[in-house]
Every structure is written in C-alpha cells, then in structure tokens.
C-alpha cells in the first residue's frame, strides 16, 4: 500500500465543562489514502465531529485539550504547527464542508467575495484570475449561470445550491484531504443524490481523499471504501466497506445495521433496536463503553476495556467476543451472519 496522506494516531480530546472534564474522543486512530473515502459513522455525541475539528485545529483553545495523540499530514505533525503554517494548511491542503449550508456561509458577503477570499489567500493569483477561478469552481459544482450567480448573496440560494457553494469553496484550492461533516444531512434525498454524485466525480478528477462523517449507512454504502464505526469517543470497529457491512464483528455495528429498515425487504418484521442510550462522557468509564447496551455482554466487558483485535487484513474491532477465551464466539457467528 502507498503512504497514507493523513494519519490520526491515538487521538484524545477533552472538553473542560462545568460538570468537569468531558472526554469526547478516546484514542481514535485511522489513516486516509489518496483518492480514498473513509466514512466515520456513529450517533450524535460519539465524537466524530470533534475528531474532524481536531484535524482542522478548529477546536476552541480555552475549553479543550488534547492530552494525547498525533495527527500527521504529509509528514508534518498538525497538532504542533505554528499558526502561520496552520493557516497555509487549512483550506489549501485540508479543507472542510460543514453540515449546515444555511449557517456556514457569511450572509453579509456575496458568494464571489467568499470564494475569492480563500483563493487569493492560498494561491498566488491576481484579483482577476482569482475571480475567474471562482466562476470556474461554481460551474464545476453545477451552479447554472455562474457568471451572474457569483454576485448573489447566500440567502438567494436554496439549501442544495448553498451546499454546492460550500463544496466549491472547499475544493477551490485543490486540497489533498476533504473533510465532509454530514454534508447532505440537511438536504432532501433527491438533492442528496445530486451532491453525492458531485463529490464522487470531483474526487475522481482531483484524487482528493475524503473523510465523510455521517450517520446514514446508505450514504456510507454509496460513497466509502473504508469505514470507522465510532461509539462513545472510540473507534469500535474499522475495516473495508464490504467487511463492515457483510462481516461485522462488533455488537454495536450489528445493532446499527439491524435497526435500519430495508427498502427491499418484504413484509414488516419488527426492527431490532439497540436498547438504552449512549453513555455520559463526563463520567469515568470502566470496561467497554457499549457493555450496558450490549446483548452479548460478559463479566469481563464491565471491568476491562477490550483490546483491538485484527479480524482480517485491515479489519479490526474492539470487543471481548473476539478474544479466544470467549466461549460464546461460535454461537455468535450465526448472529453476525443474520
């Protein structure tokens, strides 16, 4: 395999809140190759957005700390970069598309001003050339009549169009890594289909690596080559997409897959929900964070954190069931298949 362009290794993030330390990200590791899409899935509060913001160094300094971990981009330690170098990294090398296209654009600036601002900051282009590039970008993301629309303000655009603008801004400086944080969650399905197609075709053209954060397993199946499943601040399972969807090993992944209704399934069998709710991250955890909701919980799960087990090449999961001493393993193999 080639050298990954981005590596996150053992990342921890903590927030200082009134209720004490909230340990939102707990030892997250993954890597991203060129032209690859890595999907990070998980529920709200599982730490997926915090991880993304840590990569972009967008977390507020006063209230957060990163007690451990490393983020490496092209051999540089992102967490140790001085402000100036960070500025040239952000937007130019790594850029981000935000969830909410209604609030992530500046309402007092025209689309053109916002695009040109980023382009002229990172690329040595004069004003006219930067403007031309901005028009090109808008055409690229499928905004009709870009010559005119570039003078419009964000409120003139619909949600789908604004998200296209957001993608145009993120891609304007040809970044090597694009972080898309729930890019289509606020959009309707037919518009979502348009945006996903757009992201895929742009990726093929530019070779950008994409980190796609989502909770929609359908979107994951459409876009990703690799998946990391997050729960309570940890990556509980990660692997190639086929492994995660067809041979999942972690009970939380089973739960996620089974709690979704299938469009192609006939009849109305009851869904199998995951009981309970995710844990409070302000509390100290002991053992596996999923243990209180897990149907296959064992004594060991409540006291000791499960080790990372490699199931097959590139497919790892954090679960005691994968330990050789877990006698239930064979019985469970049947469950996982279903």
């Amino acid at each position: 395999m080639n050298q990954p362009i981005l590596t996150v290794d053992g990342l921890h993030v903590a927030f200082h809140s009134q209720r004490g330390e909230v340990h939102a990200v707990r030892g997250v590791s993954f890597c991203l190759q060129k032209q690859e899409t890595l999907a990070i899935v998980g529920e709200s509060g599982s730490g997926k957005s915090v991880t993304a913001k840590a990569i972009m160094r967008l977390l507020p300094k006063q209230s957060t700390s990163i007690p451990a971990g490393q983020i490496t981009y092209a051999g540089q330690n992102v967490l140790a970069l001085p402000p100036r170098e960070l500025q040239s990294l952000r937007g130019a090398e790594i850029s981000m598309v935000f969830q909410d296209p209604m609030t992530s654009l500046n309402p007092t600036m025209t689309i053109g001003q916002q695009l040109v601002e980023g382009i002229s900051k990172h690329q040595r282009l004069d004003k006219a050339a930067a403007y031309e590039k901005a028009v090109n970008m808008l055409q690229l993301v499928g905004i009709p009549n870009a010559q005119e629309r570039i003078r419009a303000y964000p409120h003139h655009f619909s949600g789908g169009m604004r998200q296209r603008v957001g993608i145009a801004m993120a891609l304007a400086c040809d970044p090597k890594v694009l972080i898309a944080d729930e890019p289509t969650t606020a959009l309707d399905v037919t518009v979502q289909a348009q945006i996903l197609e757009l992201m895929k075709s742009l990726q093929q053209r530019t070779g950008t690596g994409i980190i796609l954060i989502t909770h929609d397993l359908g979107v994951v199946a459409n876009m990703a080559q690799k998946v990391a499943v997050m729960y309570a601040g940890e990556v509980v399972e990660t692997g190639p997409i086929a492994e995660i969807f067809y041979r999942p090993k972690h009970p939380y992944t089973w739960g996620l897959l089974r709690s979704m209704p299938r469009l192609d399934a006939a009849g109305n069998e009851p869904l199998i929900p995951i009981p309970g709710t995710p844990p409070d991250l302000a509390r100290q955890q002991q053992g596996c964070p999923f243990a209180p909701r897990c149907a296959h919980v064992m004594k060991v799960c409540k006291h000791f954190s499960p080790p990372l087990t490699e199931v097959s090449s590139g497919h790892t999961a954090k679960c005691w069931l994968l330990d050789q001493r877990a006698q239930q393993q064979e019985r469970l193999a049947g469950v996982a298949g279903g």
Partner: protein, 329 residues
Amino acid sequence: MNEVMNNRVLLEVNHLSKHFQLGPNQTLRAVDDVSFHIWQGETLGLVGESGCGKSTVGRTLLQLYKPTGGEIRFAGERVSDMTERKGHKAYTSQMQMIFQDPYSSLNPRMTVTEIISEGLMIHRPNLAKKERKEQVSALLELVGLSSRQANRYPHEFSGGQRQRIGIARALAVEPSFIVADEPIAALDVSIQAQIVNLLMDLQRQKQLTYLFIAHDLSMVKHISDRIAVMYLGQLVELAASDELYARPLHPYTEALLSAIPLPDPVQEQSRERIVLQGEIPNPLNPPSGCRFHTRCPKAFDICAKEIPSFAEVLPQHYVKCHLYGEKGE
C-alpha cells in the same frame, strides 16, 4: 400488517386546499386539491420533500389551520359541522399530534406530569387529582418510561425519551387518530427503531390510526400500510406500500425511490440512479400543467399544458400523470 380492508373509513379528505396569503398578490398554495381517505386501524404514510405541503396537510386535518377549501370527514361526519355543534374539543379528543422536534415541542417549564395531564384536565375536567396522577403513571409505563420520572423536567431527558413523553401526551386523551409529523427525524438511528417499534406496538394495543408524515422513505415503508407521495402541494401517487415500492408509476416516485441510498455496498454501487435535475420550483409560482414537468425525465408536450387527473390506474393504485392518461389501454 393490519387487516384494514373490509373496514370502515375513519377519515376522508375531499379536495382539501390550504392557501396562505403572503401579500396582496402572493398566494402560497401549500396544499392544493388533495383527496384521500384513511381506513380505521391503518397507517397512511405521507412522503415528499421539504416544502411539498405534507406537514400542512397534517395540521389542516387537526384544524390547526383552517382549510381554504374542500372538506374533511371524520367517522362520517363533516369536521366543520362537528366543531360548530359540539365545539372544538369534541374533535381534538379524537385526534392528536406527535411533533418532529422533541426539544421544542415540550414546554421546558412544565414537569412531565404537567405536560401529560394538561390534555386530561381539558378533556376530562371531572377527573380527581389522584386518578389523573395514576393515569399519567400508566401512560409513562406504556411508552417505556418510569413513573418515578414523572416530576422531572424535559431537559433531564434524552431526545428519544422526550419523544416518548410527546407520545404519552398524545395518548392521554385516548384519541383514535394520530398525526405523527416526522416523529423520528430528529433522533439517532439506534433510537429511531425504538420509537417506531413503540408506535407500532401502541397501534396494535389501542387500534390507533396513523397519518405518518416523513421524508425517510425506508422507515415509511416499514411502518405504513399505504403511502401517499406529495409534490408541490399535490398528491402524485397513492398505493399500498409494497406495491408502491415494487411498481412506482409516477416518475417523481421513481426518482425519489432511486435516490434513497441503500445500506448495502454491492447493491448501492451497482444500481442505476435517476438523478433529478434542478430543485423544487418556487411554490409561489408553480409550473403550469403537471407541476413536476420541469424536472421530469419523461415529460412530453401535453405535460406543460394540462393538469393530469388523479386516477386509479391499477386497483387501489392512484397516480396523477399523463403517462397513464389513456384509460382504455
């Protein structure tokens, strides 16, 4: 899943319209000439993209909006007659709503008991305080919460638990019909299944009838007996859910179904997708003829000129499209 055939119609909607006057020359036709009926004990799913008027339909049914035109019949009786004769209360005890956002639909300054018993106090004022409390406890247990939580405030609950409180509130007055307006859209995947299962259990226990409004088509298919598809204020297709998914007739339904990403990588990456061009036109100025013709991949000349009729093309399968205009075949 429910045996709804050979049953009576609980709710009948004929040529319902709801227009909003936005200015002297601006009328938003949020709902325009919509007709359907709901069988007793059935779940009718109502789907469509944002701004298509699906929530307005739900709210107009509950008389939260006064209809601009058309009539609504509940258990055979015209709703306008019913509310005139017996007052609004006679109707609202039969019909309740579950809202989308469990964060903003519960009053943050009221305890769970106060929230749930408010309806009881209005509709059954003679109930003694103690009995009311017992009712609230029973309702909480019914929706999977504990009666020990009765004196807490909404902020102490998670999204899924709050939605359970909203469901208990709706059930408090023992309605027969519930409009569920995107009840799971704000919840996490693992919690969505919990709430959907709860709604389906309650339906079985209490013979409830649902109008289930949503944009998540896979969940709608799972919960509904029949599904109605809306586009720009009008129904474009209505059929049994399996039928609709197996044989969508309207080009919009086809596109909508093909746009849903399936949680299966092999299928998902190999399927042909109909990607619609453009976005929903401005509802203040809807296209002439068939409202979908500006985005329809199958449009032909008549579509821009004439409004298609909402016709039963196959048994119990209605569609509003010129492609199926020639009835004789």
